[in-house]
Symmetry: C2
Subunit: 252 residues, 2 copies
Amino acid sequence: MKRDRIEEIAELLDKRGKLSLEQLATYFPNVSQMTLRRDLFQLEQAGKIIRVRGGAMSVKEVQKVSGEPYTKKTAIHTDEKIKIAQKAAALIDEGCSLFIDGGTTAMYLAKEIPDMFINVFTNGLAVAIELAQKRKLNVNMLGGQVMKDNLSTASPVAKSYFEDTNFELAIISTTAFTPESGFTCGSQVEADLLRLVRRKAKSLYMMLDSSKIGKIMPYTFARVEDIDVLITDDNFPADLKTLFSEKDIVVM
Amino acid sequence: MKRDRIEEIAELLDKRGKLSLEQLATYFPNVSQMTLRRDLFQLEQAGKIIRVRGGAMSVKEVQKVSGEPYTKKTAIHTDEKIKIAQKAAALIDEGCSLFIDGGTTAMYLAKEIPDMFINVFTNGLAVAIELAQKRKLNVNMLGGQVMKDNLSTASPVAKSYFEDTNFELAIISTTAFTPESGFTCGSQVEADLLRLVRRKAKSLYMMLDSSKIGKIMPYTFARVEDIDVLITDDNFPADLKTLFSEKDIVVM
DNA sequence: TAGATTTTTGTAAAATTTTAACACGTTTGA
DNA sequence: TCAAACGTGTTAAAATTTTACAAAAATCTA
């Protein structure tokens, strides 16, 4: 039981890279934090993890040369995003061809996608690296100028790149949403890219964590009626839910 | 002075592996612990160290353990590669536009390039992420299929991408070299890309760590006479040095 | 060069996390 | 069966980190 738990913790850390003690505690509700602490201590002794203030991280994570998440402040709304990502990952069918954007939610989606034969296009550097870990999966990176704040690329040249590529599905996450302005983002070229993706894809799934509702960014890249499925979390307001449902958009 | 101190801290940590804040404080008696703390925070952001309770440890230290395919590669001959990267970084002038490839040596180069106003094109995902950390620097990522073994992209589409872009300098690293076959790599599309880069760039600097001498890969992308500067380590054989020098190629 | 603005630094309190100590139930093995 | 060893939970104490604010230094600008 102890052994099992410790192994589970090690696996979790390998998957997540880094976990706080509180997050660990939610995974193991029937033991105390002190016990988990002692487990972490043992794993540290074994050289499998590194304890950092607030929790621990897997050694593997550090070994990824410039691995992103552990430096980033991914702390915000992580759990919601992971849940959304899990829902989205479940919607992907083997053999399909899809586009994923470069946001942080997309990053979690990349982690959750199981290793299977699919073609993925992305404009996210971190997303591409994460996906490259999977053997069966084929990753295609969109080129362009790298945006430093979210590690994704965008460029007008993408248009020509897309000419010869096809994908059935696009799963994108938004940084801001209001019913009036629709889904918006902060950069002109990014909006251009996403609009292009929207037109290219047969279906468009949108990942929206509820913390982004009510925010408006300068450029609209999609409106409510443009999407086919909305993937969100439990805090999604009921009135918005009906708004989407009325337009035959699946909310999950 | 801040910059210097931070660098000193990074070096110290690379040497010692792990240091407590108190130990650090004895090394820097004229600044407060809070300042050191902030320095460590910055270094953590840059991905060079990991802060642990009580102090910090260098990423290198952790990386010395075993790891994944890409990681494994980076672990070998690290010190030589870093030295080569430092030499190469010193050759970059502010304001210029250059291409860097996606290899592991290029990764170290990316780390060594100071934050200045330059334009960098790269086909390396990890390289792009590393460069994106720098404020003044502008990064452009080449798109294409992601090669999982070295986290770089290559695609025939790159050709069209390059049509409107210009760079004076290309610094690329090779995976194999012999005087007869020249600089070779393992993938057809990668060779295509590098040949294209070679023709686009006014000057071509090649990074070659001596462990790669004598190895041959299937595709030649450059011959001895194609390059302008060869950047290598101290173990570089004297006879090869003369071979390059005879063709007016700077060896350093 | 003076003045304004930004950056860097120091101090001390507040918040958080970790450790230590002890008690209690369970398992193990003679 | 009993005792020793082990795993666990609870609490208080210790240590570390973060935050907030002010002062000093450096940089920029007119």
